[in-house]
Symmetry: C2
Subunit: 376 residues, 2 copies
């Protein structure tokens, strides 16, 4: 593969210092699984942290030696000559705490019981993740990131970096994100959560001991999620009212292609993702609201930010529409931050942030070239 | 109650002539439950048929003697002096075939087995409903309706009346409807259906014999439905990010008011609605596509319509947005039909068609006054 970082492998960092969470709960110790691409320079100034979204993980770029088809989820963005140029930057992808790809999460062993945490795993917030990510940075000797970057829920973490650790991040790239969820956003999350919570195989979150998996609920959650990730137009263009077998069959099996797509995506996801992680991720989304402690004034919330910012939105994203990104940009400008804002015309809805789009890539390239120049 | 039709009672019509459905299936005999308000005039020219939407029924206006709080679902529209003025019109509301409010449906006894139909109840289409409604009109001696009227799925039935029986309907009022569902519309329906179909209590549709009710699935379907009935703005205004108990509790119980609302609505609905009827109604929505047999040309599809039309849409309806109503109006105008089109500025999304809104009421009033004048 041209411009691939090539074969990569995951690493594991163990943390023994208890992590006090925003909820008041404490994780006595935990692991974070991560991957790195490129080389950390001598003064450790070229590191970029990638924060993942709801279903993401640490495998951002490249492939594994024993899984040559398992390409990282943002491989189009990370590699030699790509926007996150691994000839220049030392790029880190991690699996968030609470995840289900190796970092400590609900399926990990609870030291207090010897069984998987399950329902006992604490609910996490974006702030908690940023705290845990800062500890990983400490471990790697990184005092300040050249950039922290993320899309969707990952964008919220990037934004939180500028608030939790203003001096530790030089640039923040916030893509397809919002400063908080709307009632409608929360509503969709709550339907997804209820699909899982009411699945008889969920067993109050302790399904591991029951040797069940709440696949029905997780499948529904993912089907619903997909509708909100795609634009109405993208669905119309890709599927329209096309029938799978050319004619309706007057029954409840798959008839329309869109049904086939959604059910397939739902089944696939339910086969590998952990339901408790899904719940936890959606809650972190719901809770994120940096203006909450500032009388709902985003301008005041961002007063302590010191970074430079790139804010990117996509025209057909109705999950986190361009207006939501502009709220972020406006509040940052109010605080005299350097803010670049790009609204990309794209047909792919919220999913656009993962897609190869010429204008989007050009914007990312240009901004990160500037970041690279600042390193010299 | 001022302007109420007062105490009403439901009637039942039994039909022995087998009904051949679009699917090819045949219902050997069936009942339709209906209510009427006002008096049929001597030449039987003042009848208005109201077609209901997904969760509607025949109890459109007034109250029952033994249930004085059970007010009909469109009581603001039907009564003396109201837009559907019962001093002038003879108004009919019926429960659609396949429904769960008295008309023959999946929970009715299947004459072939002596058990409830369940999964054996045939899938119905909008065309089938219109056919069954025409038979009810025959029974009541109504050759031509002064108007057929409906919102959402009811609007599709009203539209279909002008195509199935062009000479039998003088005016058609199509409110908050679309000429066909988009891929996104179908996708939402399919998630709702899958919630029901995969509920362990569904038993392939034959839950009546298992003495179970797929409440979990039906509850999720309704929660999801509600999101699509309300506008983003209406949700923001009504609920925003307001917390039920003033603070987050870092758990999966109800935290935000919007969650409380949705779960309450879901629970209530799951307590009385039949899951098989829900499935069947969503399928009828998916299938409706009058342009399908005309090479997807809506202009050609509407060539046979003879009625006059009122088409109404609501500015914040994102389920069937104003553009979708304009498709209907445009195709009718192409065929030189008399078409009035009103786009009502309303905050309530798709649900607006059920709401009391001054401009909406005025439009309905004005149009139906004209219909009344034509009677003389």
């Amino acid at each position: 593969m041209d411009n691939s970082v090539g074969i990569v492998s995951a690493q594991r960092a163990h943390f023994d210092t208890p992590l006090e969470l925003k909820s008041g709960a404490v994780l006595p110790h935990y692991d974070l699984v991560y991957e790195t691409y490129g080389m950390l320079n001598a003064d450790k100034s070229n590191a970029i942290l990638i924060c993942h979204a709801l279903s993401g993980h640490h495998h951002v770029a490249g492939v594994y030696a024993d899984e040559p088809k398992n390409v990282g989820w943002w491989d189009n963005m990370v590699g030699p000559g790509k926007p996150l140029d691994t000839n220049t930057f030392f790029v880190i992808g991690l699996n968030n705490l609470g995840g289900c790809h190796g970092s400590t999460g609900p399926s990990s062993q609870n030291p207090a019981t010897g069984h998987p945490y399950g329902a006992a795993f604490p609910v996490l917030t974006v702030e908690d993740w940023v705290e845990s990510q800062a500890r990983l940075a400490d471990r790697l000797g990184i005092t300040q990131f050249a950039a922290v970057i993320g899309g969707s829920l990952g964008g919220m973490q990037a934004l939180q970096w500028s608030l939790s650790f203003p001096a530790r991040v030089h640039n923040v790239l916030v893509i397809a994100a919002a400063p908080k969820l709307t009632a409608q956003n929360i509503a969709f999350n709550d339907v997804a959560r209820n699909a899982i919570l009411t699945d008889p195989d969920f067993h109050g979150g302790d399904y591991y001991q029951h040797h069940t998996v709440p696949k029905r609920g997780l499948r529904l959650a993912r089907m619903l999620g997909h509708i909100t990730y795609l634009s109405d137009d993208a669905m119309a263009n890709k599927f329209g009212r096309e029938l799978r077998h050319g004619k309706v069959n007057y029954g409840y099996d798959i008839e329309f292609q869109i049904e086939s797509y959604l059910r397939y995506q739902g089944d696939k996801f339910a086969g590998y993702f952990d339901a408790n992680t899904y719940l936890l991720m959606t809650k972190a989304l719901d809770y994120f609201d940096p203006a909450h402690d500032f009388e709902h004034d985003l301008n005041r919330a961002f007063a302590r930010a010191q970074a430079d910012f790139l804010v990117v939105s996509f025209s057909t994203d109705w999950r986190f529409a361009p207006e939501r990104s502009r709220e972020i940009a406006d509040a940052l400008l109010h605080n005299h931050r350097n803010v670049s804002y790009a609204e990309i015309t794209s047909a792919h809805g919220h999913d656009s942030f993962l897609m190869e789009d010429e204008q989007y890539m050009a914007v990312m390239h240009a901004y990160l070239e500037r970041v690279a120049k600042e390193l010299k």
